[in-house]
Symmetry: C2
Subunit: 325 residues, 2 copies
């Protein structure tokens, strides 16, 4: 069988992760990495690099292009643009803007006879899928999402913007006690402060005032003021040793009743050593499905909600039924 020809558009953390994932997929082949930088300056693991301005030359030689733009702003343009040329996958994750992004991509993809799947990954992505399945099976109930333990990029950035902070990360820690009670079927109304706490690990710049910085952090509106926040000061050495990974994860729980007093709990949990590598792995499996669904004639924009799960696997459907059902 011919391999699925994949392109990566944008080579940051996510692009590198997709490159890894495609490399581990025997049925897929990476044929191009597009970059807005000078390809000569780009060191990719695969050695591939082509200027994104020349993407149009690849039409007909790429089954699916995975857009790995570093921010939601990138993808807002990158996905419609790439959809004029290729079948596309993206990880667009600005939840509130998804309907708008979907509408734009859907129109462009239809006009250009392409299939484009937006917002894959884990949230949006696998978490969304579990919310959907949970609600569909248990229509009367409650869905809870907890994030972490994991590194929050936005909150870490907020710490680093404080004067006197040389380096910093923030971990979001779910309230495990609340999780256990929900798993046991208890219905909880939780405030923001009760759901998660925030743990900061900060390296101070020379001469910085730790007490003042701690106060700035814990009182920072939107980011930390509404949470129980702890601030730990550590050395740069300790920081480099223990805090350079990008772990993340979380739990989606659907708690419902099928009859009066009969509680049923479905939960889905991720514990990830590397957030970008996992997102890249999800994007790679999604790309496999998109290449196949496009080959079968599907067009326009879709999401993971529209993908028959068997399409995510390289294996023959009869084998899947025999081995996994």
């Amino acid at each position: 069988m011919e391999k699925i020809k994949v392109a990566i558009n944008g080579y940051g953390n996510l692009g590198r992760a997709v490159e890894l994932a495609v490399g581990r997929s025997a049925d897929m082949e990476l044929v191009a990495i597009f970059t807005r930088r000078d390809p000569a300056d780009l060191e990719t693991a695969s050695g591939l690099a082509a200027p994104s301005s020349e993407m149009a030359r690849w039409v007909g030689n790429i089954d699916v292009c995975i857009n790995c733009g570093g921010s939601a702003t990138d993808l807002r343009d990158q996905t419609p643009e790439a959809s004029t040329l290729f079948n596309v996958v993206d990880t667009f994750d600005t939840h509130a803007a998804i309907p708008q992004h979907f509408a734009v991509v859907d129109q462009v993809a239809r006009e250009n006879d392409r299939l484009a799947l937006i917002s894959t990954g884990w949230d949006p992505g696998l978490f969304s899928l579990n919310r959907l399945i949970g609600e569909s099976i248990l229509p009367e109930g409650e869905t809870y999402t907890f994030w972490g333990p994991g590194l929050s990029q936005g909150h870490s950035d907020a710490l680093r913007r404080i004067e006197g902070v040389a380096a910093a990360v923030q971990y979001t820690i779910p309230n495990e006690g609340a999780l256990d009670r929900i798993h046991a079927g208890e219905h909880l109304e939780l405030t923001t402060r009760e759901k998660h706490r925030r743990e900061c690990w900060v390296v101070l710049a020379d001469g910085a005032d730790g007490d003042a910085i701690r106060e700035t952090i814990v009182s920072m509106p939107n980011y930390f003021a509404d949470y129980d926040t702890t601030v730990n000061f550590i050395s740069q050495e300790e920081f480099d040793r223990d805090h350079t990974g990008m772990p993340h994860g979380g739990t989606v729980i659907r708690q419902g009743q099928t009859s009066e007093g009969t509680s049923q709990v479905i939960s889905f949990k991720l514990a990830l050593d590397s957030n970008p590598e996992f997102t890249g792995a999800v994007a790679c499996a999604t790309a496999r499905a998109v290449a196949r669904m496009a080959a079968e004639g599907q067009r326009g924009a879709i999401t993971l909600f529209d993908v028959p799960p068997a399409k995510l696997s390289p294996e023959d459907p009869a084998q899947l039924r025999k081995r996994l059902l």
Copy 2:
């Protein structure tokens, strides 16, 4: 919008559970309950009851028929038979016989222009789906399935067949310590005895010899000999008070690496107060998908692996994207 017209074929624990679930689904309507018994003797919650010998009279008035035969043996005939008349869902759960059942149903359904989804529920069903998704995203890794804490019907039956046992249930209890270690990314090779233990609650008949019965149980091949089995003797009163529910559940874990030393763990867990009611709820959501996919022209046999998840929900796809993605 017109409601999806549902029939139930077979009225045991599962049939009753599907009746409950359809009753809680605003977009579905129960129109018939077929039984091999005398309908006059059948007390259904909805008041519906029709002889299964007259099923053919309902052709054209049922969008999907949920086969609720009490055993895999029933379904082996019931599903192909019903597939000559209706689109069908079943919960066929003899894992080893699934390929054969699929082949038979596929042929009958195609010949009769029907769509039939086999082996929905949670295992096979949601657990299978999570095995598939886990493998597709993390191709290098290991899948673990733990069952329980929950009541095992087969093992409870085995206890009840022992002379001197008046009543009995058996609960399968997963090794929580092993589960925690796997969640933490540790790779474990577990023997049968290490994965689960078996807890028996037994009411002795008058004059029965407890010690002899305990010995018979713990040494019973296939059922108990390979496990750490505890036997508790209780009164009939205690049994009736604490052991008449049908709780079950379990956990599917996919543990993989996306690069050397980078561990990623996906886990899916069910904690069910009522095994049949949950299976019925899954069958009901599955029936919604089958009615829609059949209306779109799909034919033959399928499984949950082939169902785009959005089809399981009564909600509009745009709403789903906005609210859940």
